[in-house]
Every structure is written in C-alpha cells, then in structure tokens.
Symmetry: C2
Subunit: 341 residues, 2 copies
C-alpha cells in the first residue's frame, strides 16, 4: 500500500518524463509538446494525482484561504453574512476559516495571530473595541483586509457596512411619529462604531423633535440577548418607564421581547418595540416585529469581493479605502402599532 497521495514525481515516472516537465503541463505554463501533454495528463489520471496545496503554498506564499473573524456566527446577521462570504469564496476557490470573537479583544488578538501564522491570503473582520495595534500592523504590512459592519477610526481599509445612523434614525423617527417620546434604547457596546452610530441616529431623531434624552432610558445591552433581557426588566421597573423600546440588534431584540412577554406587557399597547436586524422569524413574532433590515447576505458577498480585489492586485497598488455603505430598510409590521396619541 502506498503511503499517501501521489505526487508530481509519480506522475512523471508513470509518464516517463521529468517531474519538472510534468509540473509544467499540469500547471499549464512553460512549454511542452502536445505529445507530452497527453502522456502527462493521462498519467496524472491513472495515478489519481491531486496537487499538494501545502507544498504549493510554501512555494507561492499563497494559500487561497481567507479568515473571517466575527462576533458570533450564532446570530442571524452574522450567519447570513458569513454565508454570503463563504458562497463567494467557494466560487473563487477560496476556503474560509471561521472565528468567533465574542466581542472580546483578547480573543480577537489570538485569532488574528493564528490566522496570520497560517498565512491566510486575506481577512474580513468585524473588529471589537480594545487595542487595535495588532490590526493596524497587519494593515501596514499590507495584508489584504476588509472591515465589515464597523470600521476603526483612522484605519483606512476597505469596508462594507450599512448606514447605521440612518437606519436607527428611521426607526426612532417612526416611533416618534406614532407619538412616542419616552423611548428606551438597548445599545450595543459603547465604542463599537455600529453601536455608536445607531445611538447617534436615536439621538438625532429625538433632538430633531426637541425631545430630551433621558439617561435612564438608555441601556447598554452589549449586543447580547441576556444583557438585553435584564436591561428590559430594569426599564420596566422604572416609575415612568418607556412607552417604546429600540433594540439595536437581533439578539437584543429577542432578549427584550422575551422580557416583555415574561412581564406580561402587551406590545404595542403597553410598549412598542422596534429592532435593528430583520430575522426571518420577525413576521412570526407576537406581534410581528417592525424592524430595520440589513442586506447581510449581500454584505458578505461584497466583503469577499473587496478582499479578492486586494488579493488579486499587487501589494503596492492596493486602493486604501474603498468603502461600500448600503441602505438599511425599515420593515413596518405590527410591533409599533398605530398612533398612541
């Protein structure tokens, strides 16, 4: 029994040529006669030759592998985005290594280091807060990089995201137009662009109508379902609590909804609810959820395309900050009800 897969040497022997020649016809470069092309391809088929990508990578310094570092594949937005990314990657023959940061910069750092050691050709990352020195160094070294969902201040690399401020603004304006003024908000993580921008949209909508922001109504839910659950309970415990709540992502929307139901509050009668992210189940909820929808799948595809463009280009001529910002869209269903006036 042979030990492993057959190599170029095996093909060469079988075809009765040198391994260099075999490599050329199989790699389709250099020159060779039609005669040898036949002999070699036939031999390759016979010995079931399959190139050793490890050896090839060692030589070419290219791995046809990209890393994707996101907060949590488990949430609707990220799994959908990852799917779009993986589909595009596969189309181009790239493999994708999945990493979940849980919004922890220590995890981020560790995964980043690992991915670099593995010589990925590029990286799409949704950076968390914390020390970005490492990431900046990678960018400086011209490792193909694309940021998704959020950017980092002062780091000029391609990014694909949605206009978060606008999406949040639309959501909150919708609430205000329905007569709400005491609007609770479940923020993500302070310092994360996505979160800050959504909060800015919230502020903008309120300011525009001269509604003052009540600090007690703004809670940091850390993008997490459980945190949002607790925060919602706190909101409900207030003397003069919110008449509406804006949850800044899907896990928090779920947590909020769970808390609301557990407390027996009627939606939208007692409190209206609107969320960022539009999971497939939003129409099935009780009541059907009004949300801000993001084109997550498309974002994943775009992220890969932006990355592939960098990988394909010579390191010197890489555009520094091609940015794609998509529009979120308000999906009006039932959870905000009609006017409460």
């Amino acid at each position: 029994m042979r030990k492993g897969r057959s190599t170029l040497k095996d093909v060469a022997r079988k075809a009765g040529v040198s391994s260099g020649l075999a490599g050329r016809v199989l790699g389709n470069y250099g020159s060779f006669s039609e005669e040898t092309r036949r002999k070699v391809t036939r031999a390759a088929r016979l010995v079931q030759y399959t190139p050793n990508t490890i050896a090839r990578s060692l030589r070419t310094r290219l791995t046809r592998t990209v890393g994707v570092l996101i907060p949590d594949i488990t949430s609707f937005f990220w799994s959908t985005l990852a799917r779009g990314l993986q589909d595009r990657a596969a189309r181009d023959g790239f493999s994708v290594i999945l990493c979940n940061s849980d919004e922890e910069s220590t995890n981020e750092k560790a995964y980043l280091a690992n991915l670099v050691e593995r010589s990925v050709d590029g990286l799409v990352i949704s950076p968390t807060i914390g020390n970005h020195a490492y990431l900046r160094r990678l960018a400086a070294e011209r490792l193909p990089l694309v940021l998704v969902d959020r950017r980092i201040r002062g780091l000029a690399v391609p990014a694909v995201r949605v206009d978060n401020r606008e999406g949040a603004y639309d959501a909150v304006r919708h609430l205000i137009s329905l007569g709400h003024e005491r609007i609770g908000v479940l923020k993500g993580i302070d310092g994360v662009e996505t979160s800050d921008e959504r909060f800015a949209g919230y502020e903008q909508a309120l300011a525009e109508r001269r509604i003052r922001i009540r600090p007690a109504l703004v809670k940091e839910g850390r993008f997490l379902k459980d945190q949002a659950f607790r925060a919602t309970q706190e909101l409900l415990a207030m003397r003069s609590g919110p008449t509406a709540i804006f949850a800044c992502n899907e896990p928090m929307l779920t947590g909020c909804l769970l808390a609301l139901k557990e407390a027996g509050v009627r939606i939208p009668h007692d409190v209206a609810l609107i969320g960022f992210d539009d999971p497939v189940w939003a129409p099935c909820a009780d009541p059907p959820l009004t949300t801000v929808s993001q084109p997550a799948y498309a974002m994943g595809m775009l992220a890969f395309d932006l990355l592939a463009a960098q990988i394909g280009a010579p390191a010197s001529s890489r555009r520094s900050a091609e940015e794609v910002v998509l529009k979120p869209t308000l999906m009006i269903r039932k959870s905000c009800g009609g006017s409460i006036a």
Copy 2:
C-alpha cells in the same frame, strides 16, 4: 525592508547558533544547554519569529485544520452546532474551514475534494443523499471523520446525533394526546437519515394509536423554509386538511408558521403546530412554539472531541464507530394548545 516574516534561519543568525539548534529549542525537543535556550528565545523575540505553519505542515503532514461540511450555516441548528465545534477546536489550536452543502451532493463532493486537497486533519460532515462513494473512500483511507446529525448506512465512523425517532414520536404523541388525528407532517428529504427517522417517529406514534397515515398529509419540505411554505399552503387547501402540523426542522417550522399566518389560520385553534429544533425565538412566536429541542451546541463540541480523539490516535488503532446519541427534549408551550376534544 525585509521581505516577509522572519524564519528559523534569522533567529539562528541572531543567536549565533545553527538553525537546527534554534529549531530544537523553539520546538522544545532534542537537547540544548540553558545558555543557548536563553540566546535563542531572546533572538526569537527580537526578530519577532513566528513559525511558518505551511512549512511545518509540509514536513509533518499535519495542518491543525478541520473541515466542517454542513447543509447551511444560516439555520439555527447548524450555526449553533458550528459554534460549539469552533469553540472546542480553537481551544485545541485547530482552525475550522466552513463549507455549506445546501444538501446538494455535487457541492458536497466538491467541498470534500477541496478539503482533502488542503490536507485537513479531519472532517465533520453532515452528509446529504447521493453518491457516497467518495466519502467511503476517505473513510477507508482512514481520514479522521465524524458524522453529525445523520449517518450513512454501512459506513462505520463515529457519529453524534440525537434520537430523532424518539423526538418525533414524542412530538406526535403530544399532538395525539391532545386529540389530533389528522396530523400533517413537513418532512425533510427522503433518504436523509434525520428525515427518515423523524418520519418513522411520526408513523410510530400514529400506528400505536391505530391512526392510519394519510399520504396527502405528508409533504416533503426538503428542510427548506420556502418549500415548507408552499407545502403548508397545499395542506390548507385540502378539503379535509390537518388539524395539526409537525414541521421537521426550524426553517420548515418558520415557513409553515409564515404560511399559516398569511392564510389567517389561528394557532392552535384552527391548526396546532409543533416543530423540531427549538430556536431562541420560539417563545416569542405567536403563539409561543411547542418544539423538540436538540442540544446543538453540545453536539458541536462532542463532534470535535470525537474528531480530535481520532486525530490524536495512531491511524491503525482508530475506533471505528463510537457513536453518541443524545436525547431531544419536548418543550411544551402554546402552539398545540389544550385538548381539542
């Protein structure tokens, strides 16, 4: 400016020793004096040495990479399982390459081939139907393999799954105990063990109560939301349609619910609904969904552990079919209501 990362040769030069020696202290094998250990580690730090995993892999034939090939990362069950898998893998220093088959054997075959070319150390796969010859060959070649969620007949490799028949049996028995007899079922894909077993549970529960199976009530939803949506519409269009529906996975549960709502049927009053898989949002649905819950995250962790055990063991002594079968649990909420008697 240096061209790339520094190598063993660089640290060796810096430390004033041979690269072989440097390799040994950094790899911590063989023998060397305390003196050189200091010199070498210091040099490594100075030149920011980081091992080239490609070269190492070429030499050791090990990549510390595993592939995970599942139907669709986008669904609740799979994203949760993948998360458990990735977490465990990271703990042990393994990277995971994500592939989505969409239940297409051609995709499966292509991804499998790619993963093998990349020399993954192991593979966890949820095989779809179709030609399994390729997979069998890999198993025969002793590539570490673990099957998740479903097995393949006659292929003795470790597997982790849930007792699908029992879960489905419990679900349908629950429906029957509430007085339902015309129970519609949204099956997955005929031939996929998961689907067949769940259907077997359905049959068993009915047979036990001497309720005959009406072919018109069983629909193949292909595990897909949209297919289930249409199938549900067909069920609703029947002259004497179902009084209850059992959706065999989460996407189909969603599709079914969507169709039911769109048609204005009241749940459970007009038709009761129960699903396999218990997504986080199940309690938020209208009405809260009664489901069969699977320990997806744990299954992912276990799958990796089973794989790691094989990777760690010498190829000759690999246990052939350690199988883990977990218990699903019935989560009774509101979508089946009380007795309809």
